[in-house]
Symmetry: C2
Subunit: 115 residues, 2 copies
């Protein structure tokens, strides 16, 4: 890979790392980690989420019951204020990453759009 | 989104656009586009590929026959030199995008790894 591509990616990495949104996400992660009850609740939630994603990727059917269980778990963990704030920060960060990707992928989109 | 994040993403977009790999990809796309036989072959291949990807995302089963048909189509289109060169350039570009993503996603990986 050419040096300037590498450098530009490193600059963007640094900008993400230094962004308010990332620092806040980091702080909120630490808050959850430092609270054993919140951490255990959040770990369980993450595990459930990963199991469902794995099923989805494997093309396995996800039952109505599993969807309801997942929704109930989301509702439960969001009652914990630390987790709820962390999840909101994750959502903001994921939107930013999406916007960055849209910018970066413009050259390729232009190509594919023309064919 | 903060201005410096936006600027850094734009710089990376520019670096991609100005990279030799992107310019070559663009040239090879144009070569295929300018050759009606190659273009029609490549369009068919793209359509087949998208149909399979869509099936996969929907969690539909892909039959042994469909896999064999896809493999036969790949083997066929690769015999066209313009298409074969384009596909190799696409692979190189896709590897570069993967490497760039790995760099950019480091801050988030560090977070998720710690929880």
């Amino acid at each position: 890979m050419a040096v300037n591509l590498h450098d530009a990616a490193n600059e963007l990495e640094k900008a993400i790392r230094q962004s308010d949104e990332y620092k806040q996400l980091q702080q909120l992660y630490n808050d959850v980690n430092a609270d054993p009850a919140a951490k255990s609740m959040f770990d369980n939630f993450r595990q459930l989420q990963m199991n469902l994603q794995q099923k989805q990727m494997m093309g396995s059917e996800i039952s109505e019951q599993e969807i309801q269980q997942a929704q109930a778990t989301v509702a439960l963990v969001q009652q914990n204020e630390k987790i709820s704030r962390l999840m909101q920060a994750e959502q903001r960060m994921s939107m930013i990453i999406g916007e960055l990707n849209q910018i970066i992928m413009k050259p390729l989109e232009e190509l594919y759009g023309n064919l």
